[in-house]
Symmetry: D5
Subunit: 127 residues, 10 copies
């Protein structure tokens, strides 16, 4: 298990009977490029439908800040954050969108998402 | 029953045979964080399809203002407002979108919605 | 029949074999609040697919201007305009979107639409 | 056949096996109102999926410019341009969106589109 | 095989079990018009779902820069870039959107996309 | 004396020893064109440095609304409002900026200002 | 005297004792490039302080429209409009700003202004 | 002395030999209208040149929050904040700009500023 | 003398008695970084008051394009363009503003200007 | 002498006879709040008129990055950067503008500038 997940705290979802959407947009995410050692900057947007747990906002900030001096690629950090948050929050649905600043004249977005098996089954039934 | 619902007033929908959409956007919502005691600020957007009743606009403002000094979390206040309005307006469809200002470098959106059983049945039939 | 419909003029649709979309956006709509006597302001957007008739633009302006000193609620004026225009233009599809300026810190949108029975049948068949 | 179509030139589509989208946005379209004799101004957007032919860009400009002193209504000019371009380019799909400047406090959009019978059949099969 | 593809480098996708989206937006693309010899300018947006390989960002920049003094048409350069990238990256899905600056008062967008046979089959099954 | 000035109410300036700036921007001003009988629309911005009196905001709104059905030209209404407000508020400095919506493809701004003799003398001395 | 000046009409300035500013912004100006024969497009902004006369808005529109099929360079048309308007309106101050659309990847602005001798003398005295 | 000034904390200016500018923009200011009892909302911008003291940011927030349930007019609250801050920070220059949300279709700005006698003398000398 | 100046063409200023302003904004300037060999991109804005000569627009474009494959630093290219244009156009006043795209997370602007001795003398006299 | 100044590199100004302006805007500045240990984020804008030396862009980036894990207050970091750059670049004029992201609902700007004695003397003489 990723050590960083210890930083993440949750609280019980008070409205588990309803599928509702929570979005946290963090424009101050920064990590380090493993190749050049230079800092990368991104807006990290987390969107999810909670099941039993919601993510505590301050702990999310501390979790994001823990990447500040880590050397990690765009694709890896986006997928890792998704996996850490799935592990801790066990959501019905979750999507991470990481919008990285211009490097070499090119800006990049990485977007990964997850649906729990139960949520997928429910969507099948509804169609 | 929530005492706050007494603040909400309605008037009869003059066009009940048509499904039409009403949106009220209120950028001046404010409540208090129960943890820190500091004020929170949000744009609260209500969207609904009326059945027999429409919400009276001034009473909606007074209802929103009643949260001004209440300590309540993002997720709770959004769902509570949805439930209060469902109880009073009994709409065919209703959605609350609460866009909260930046706290700790992170801005948040909570969005919850409701469809009446009759409205869902009608959608089934139309497909 | 609403007397205001006499203000609306039409001309023959030269391309009745094609379903095409016409939009007229009028940001200078104003009427009067029946409760307070104070003026209301809205951007009134008309979107439709013509059948045999198109609405003449200058007559639409005169029709809108006729509400200038009428006391009428948001929901009523939007639905009334839709009904008047359906009666005169007999469109395949029509939608009115009324975006009202801020009152008491809240801005409002009312949106109502119509599909002719023939247009609905055609959509059924196409699916 | 419309004489204006002589102004339009094409070149062979080098990638006919792929359905791809081409958009040309022309914010400098102008014609004359047949009623008032005053000039009208529009942004004319052409979107299409080529079959065997692509439209040559400079000839499109010359074609648009040929309307400069013609008296023609919004609905007519939009549909006429669509028909001229279908005749010359024989596309799989084509859409014209004409956004006209404010007249009498009202701005207007006319949007018409076309699908070739073969393209429609392919869409049916895919569903 | 296009010689330019030698410029493109890849690295293994660490998350092949998940369909996730990568976007690289490059607002500094420039080539030369084969007709006039004058430079063209575009924002080139690459969007893809990786299979086994991801495109290395710096090599993508060098690849784009290699077009700097090439005479090539809008439609050709967009489709060629798509084909080169498919050949090297072998993605599940890929889309190129090229937004060219105003020439003769007209701006243009060319957009082409690709789905691998396996990805299409998966989409069929899911429906 | 203009009858409309009776609509304007004032309250004592609590900080007469300081030159400070007050701005009221009213985007919902409307009057009628004396030539065509059609309504005109403007954003009316009042900026002033109070002397002994401040303008009461609600009375300003009622004053503006009194022009709703008056036939009056752009230049006249702007200068008249300035003169009415000077008469009632007796400010040190005052400026009216009226931004009128597009008519015949042309939007217009009329801007007039006033400095009291005492204020001018003070500026002289300061230079 | 330029024949076009016959198109321009004026009305008496009702407030000649006050130096106030009038701005008319016309985003639909078009003329023809004398070199290429292709149309040019500009936003033509007229700003002036009236003396005895104000320019009548509709005649200004007709005057601008008279350039529609004239072949004339950017610098010439801007200075000519300024001179025509000075001749007819005899203003205290006048400025023409012509913002031309992109040609060959370059957009252009030409700005010329005039102060009457009396206005200059007054400014001298005030300093 | 105003009791609220007890909420304001300062720290020593480390660079008193240089005139430099500090701006704090607070878009979440809210107080209550003494007339209607309804909440007012403003963006409160503080700009100053420190002398010996700088304002501590968190205490400024707490100070602003103390107005949350106070009934106070636009003009009064702006001038009072300026006076409280002058008293505590003793700046060389200070300006408060309060931008209030729309009420009755009108938005308002109140702007007041202060220069210390020493700062004014220095400006005289420099001219 | 710089060889590039041969590319620049002029035409006689038809209004030499008036000081008027000409601006040409070119968002498609590109050269090459002499250090990295990678292309640089800038918006190059030329602003001048002509004396006897105006710069011909198409030759300006060709002149800018001649830098396309030159290795030259930000500061040098901006000053060189100013000097070349002064030499050819002999203006009363001229300013070059070069806004370079982000490199290493930093965007840059270089701005240099020139006044002819006669123009400076005239300004002295006017003060 | 500050150790960080060793990171800054310069190159000779090739145009020392002309006063021209250089601006470098860096939206990715980050340091750490000494009180809370949480990261701060700013856009750091450097504007200067070079004398004998220009700042090398890449070294400026490395210099800014060196603050990444330093605990330092808004006012201190802005003034320190100004002093370091004056020491190394010895400019005629220099200004640092640091725009910090929202903390506790308040965003902040710190702006400090410097003029060399020679530059001030020249300005005196010119007036």
């Amino acid at each position: 298990m990723s050590e960083k997940t210890n930083l993440l705290e949750t609280f019980p979802n008070q409205y588990p009977n309803r599928d509702y959407r929570i979005v946290h947009e963090a424009p101050e995410f920064t990590s380090v490029c493993p190749k050049t050692g230079q800092p990368d900057f991104a807006t990290m947007t987390l969107e999810y439908i909670p099941n039993e747990l919601c993510i505590e906002l301050k702990s999310l900030k501390i979790y994001y800040t823990s990447f500040r001096n880590d050397g990690i690629y765009y694709e890896s950090v986006t997928n890792k954050i998704l996996e850490d948050l799935i592990e801790v929050v066990k959501p019905r649905f979750m999507r991470i969108t990481a919008e990285f600043n211009v490097r070499g004249g090119i800006s990049s977005v990485i977007e990964a998402e997850y649906e729990s098996p139960e949520f997928q089954a429910k969507l099948w039934k509804a169609e």
